[in-house]
Amino acid sequence: MIRSEKVTEVLGALAAGEREAIVLAYFGGHTYREVAVVLDQPEGTIKSRIRSGSHKLADVLEAAGLEARP
């Protein structure tokens, strides 16, 4: 089980723009197009932030030796 402090640390590892895009897409249930409208950013920017932020999350989790649960 991942400790709660680790979850906070993992999310905190993201750049603000990445975290904002992922929070709106994942926690807010919005498509990346909707996120782009909400944040007034190009769709390509949001796509990139979600992808890079997701990979950073994966890097942090894997570096911490945390078990992924597909």
Partner: protein
């Protein structure tokens, strides 16, 4: 940009289920012919699943049952099963009940995600934010709100949801004093309240309760607050959103 590059760019959004149904189908077809893309998506989906399962196991005893109780009323779609939460069928809306606008598959997924967000917020110990100022007469608040909207140093914006849904105007002055013009929101049934959230951090932070029939409401936030949302919560409010936002937007 080639079609493959376009699909590669969408892999992160696809893993988060943040693409529309047409793109989802096209990307799935692309994954069938691109092993590298399949590997990438599997890696990202594992991250999402790991975080979700972590949040679920970390919440205090009994909290998850209460979260599931709050979700009664959400309707899973036949083409998008939600095995993790097994949402019950949605009952017919009661007369006078406020039905969130356009609860489509994505919105329903949002309810699930919002539940996970609620658990996440519990984990990081997010506390209720500043108490909304509801003591002053509405007329007084309206004057103060007008002044704030007229102040060129204030930041303002509109929070909205699905097309045709309510729109809420928000203003925040340089000191972090804000006003919500929420007349567009329908009156909630007894036992429910609107709640205002900041979505700027790792987890939603409550900025206060707006009540069941808000008009002009004051709140206090960080002067740099940017992304705001309003949810419908059980009174007297929640420490983290239990529903997907009814309206959402930015002040700038």
């Amino acid at each position: 940009m080639s079609r493959e590059e376009h699909y590669d760019g969408l892999l992160g959004a696809h893993a988060l289920d943040a693409t529309d149904s047409v793109e989802r189908g096209a990307i799935e077809a692309y994954l069938d012919r691109s092993p590298d893309a399949r590997v990438e998506v599997s890696r990202l989906e594992a991250v999402v699943a790991t975080l979700a399962s972590t949040q679920a196991t970390d919440v205090p005893d009994g909290s998850w049952d209460r979260l599931l109780g709050r979700l009664r009323g959400a309707a899973p779609e036949a083409d998008e099963p939600v095995p993790a939460l097994r949402l019950p069928a949605r009952p017919e809306p009661q007369p006078g009940a406020v039905v969130p606008p356009g609860r489509s598959g994505r919105a329903r997924r949002g309810w699930v995600a919002a539940t996970l967000a609620m658990a996440a917020a519990m984990i990081v110990g997010v506390a209720l934010g500043a108490v909304v100022d509801r003591a002053r007469p509405t007329a007084d608040l309206a004057s103060l709100a007008r002044a704030a909207f007229d102040d060129p140093s204030s930041r303002q914006g509109s929070l909205s949801g699905d097309a045709g849904g309510p729109t809420v105007r928000v203003v925040v002055d340089p000191q972090g004093r804000g006003f919500v013009l929420a007349q567009d929101l329908a009156r909630l049934p007894e036992g429910r309240t609107y709640q205002l959230w900041s979505l700027d951090g790792a987890a939603p932070v409550s900025l206060g309760l707006l009540g069941a029939d808000p008009q002009v409401v004051a709140f206090t936030a960080s002067p740099g607050v940017t992304t705001l949302a309003i949810t419908d919560e059980p009174a007297p409010g929640a420490t983290a959103p239990g529903q997907a936002p009814l309206v959402l937007g930015r002040v700038s």
